[in-house]
Amino acid sequence: MKKILISFLIATLSLTAIFASGIKETTEIKQDEQITLEWWSWSPEMKEKNQKIINKYESEHPNIIIENTMMSASEYWPKLKIRASQGNLPDVFGMSSSALEEWVEDGLLGNLDEYINNDKTKQEIYTNLLDSTKALAGGNHYYALPFALVTTNLYYNKDMFDLAGLSYPTDNWTWDDFKDAAKALTLDKDGDGAIDQWGFWFYGRYTQIESWVYANDGYLINRDTMRYEPNDNALDALKMLTDLVLVDKVAPPQKDMAAFRQRDIFAHEIAAMSVEGSWNIDNNRNHSDKSMRWGIAKIPLGPSAKVGYIYGWSDSYSMSPNTEYSQEAWDFMKYIAGEGIGMDMYMAGKIPSFKAITESEAFDASAQQPDEMYILKEQAAGAMLTSYTKGWSEWRGYGAAEALGLNGIIDGIVNGEMTFDEAMIEASKDINSVLKRYYR
């Protein structure tokens, strides 16, 4: 019996030793294994910054190689969709808030619940950004890790304000204050009858329209019916904007500015004010005259605003549902979403979702304009809305379709092709025909 017991113990110990050595061996192999993670993103202008991040990450993780593919947004989405159709998505890839609902519904994004719920992510990343991406993804699970927030702002030319003797926009500015300033800033400098400096510039683009709609507590899409049913507050905002061109004559019709890149109209001092996404800070820094003094302000609240919503959304990273290296992909996602990078790795105007970066001195301490970078931080904590739905780029008119959809209809009003009422009827018919396809 004793012999049997000793034999059993020896056998058990031997097996334990074999398994233990085996596990150790496996772990060692795994550590030595060279892993290649594919990372796809848009904004090719970030190529150098991305390469810096990759170099740093690879030096800290010698067994991991990152292959970064960057392309313009117009190329990115068709190519990513083709990879998705082959079941071969990159391990980590950029995800837009506008596409989130559709991609989740098609089962193309890896579920991130176990990662986000089980580590410090919720403490490290602004909760409202995590919540808003979760809501856009259907509300039950996390499918995207936000790396940056973008909002919209009023850009204004301080030199022009000073010359006109106007005080700069404040948080208390009303729409009347804004219009008065726009009138004072619209100038025929050489007296030839043609306006040389416009008070304001806008066209039918989503950033330039919805910002005012939300600042008046309006909405374009009724979320209960999922139809284009703008409320009165939204219609007031649209009317106020189009009247700036047609009645107040403080903004040019879209067709007058066709020769310019729209984002350069403010930067080239053709207009004293404009509204655009916070990423335009980068464009203004790079494309305006260095002597031009400019700033940013919040969108003036409308007369019906009780909350005064901010138009803002996250840019995120998602993970392939089929990645072989989900833990490694998650670690890398967190790294590029803020854990391993600094403020210098962000495009100017993008608000890092990682609290430690946004709340660091580096966020405010830029030597470059605008001086009001703190506004972006204040916005990050505010209540936000978007009009993203399935089929958004089609009904809204975005990218290659930017002359069509609601964008084209609003341009049609300010260009004198149709009246406001005609345009609203056409918008309702066209947009709802798209939404009916997606929300039956």
Binding site: P78, K81, I82, A84, S85, D106, L108, A194, P253, Q254, K255, D256, A258, A259, F260, G391, S393, E394, G399, A400, A401, E402, A403, L404, G408, D411, G412, N415, E417, M418, D430
Partner: protein, 295 residues
Amino acid sequence: MKEHRLRWHGKYTPWLFLIPTIVGLLVFKLIPIFTAFYLSFTRWNLIGTPEFVGLGNFKEALHSTHFMQTIYNTFGFSILYIIGSMVVGLFLAVLINKKMKGISFFRALIYLPVVTSSVAVGIVWNWILGPNVGLIAKLLLSIGINAPYWLGDTSLALKTVASVQVWKMSGYYMVLFLAGFQAIDYQVIEASVVDGANSFQRFFKVTFPMLGPTTFFVLSVSIIDSFKNFELIYAMTKGGPQNSTNTLVYDVYLNGFQFFRIGYASSLSMVLLLFVGIFTAINFYIKKKWAQPLY
């Protein structure tokens, strides 16, 4: 003694040489065309299995005012392009069909836009045609004329884009007409000179009729080319204003690669294929009947 002949090819050898062409034709033309034909009866966003919807996509198109406008724009563009490019191409060929010093330089200069990227052409013409600050607007203003909104006016935008396409491609048609001129028997023209024909009569009574086969070839090519207008529209108007420059080709791109409505985009491409097929068949018929060499 049995004679051994060196035979380097057998019965199937020609097929070997045809393989690259056949593979190319299958992979890049025929398989995509048949796949698009199948997809035109489906609803598919590139993900999952295409859902069969019968004639649903075609019905949707036929009930859409947007589609009807697109068809109207497509034919409007084609007519302007075909007439414009043939007239300008022929005019340039007549101008350049001379033996004089430095003529090759002018031929190259006129041909240059043909090989220039359409996107670059579109961007430069956007500047030239720009309201208030564009070159043409400034020139017209200097003589007291306010330039119209070439690209911003719904009644002008399609004509403007088609004109730019004519400007870009006329050099190509000029080369085709030049080749036609050089194939004409000069003795016939000399005979007309001896008979007392003036230059106007020589061109319209002798030269132009003898260009018949070339003219019909140019017509066939220009009809097919007239449907290929995606790049310039993308660079200049993106289908606007108010859908006034949105053509079938551009709409196929929008629905296929912007909205990922692959089934609907395929049905539009089938409509386009049908149009191109009909015009090509008419062309062949006309060529067979009337466009025979006169000499």
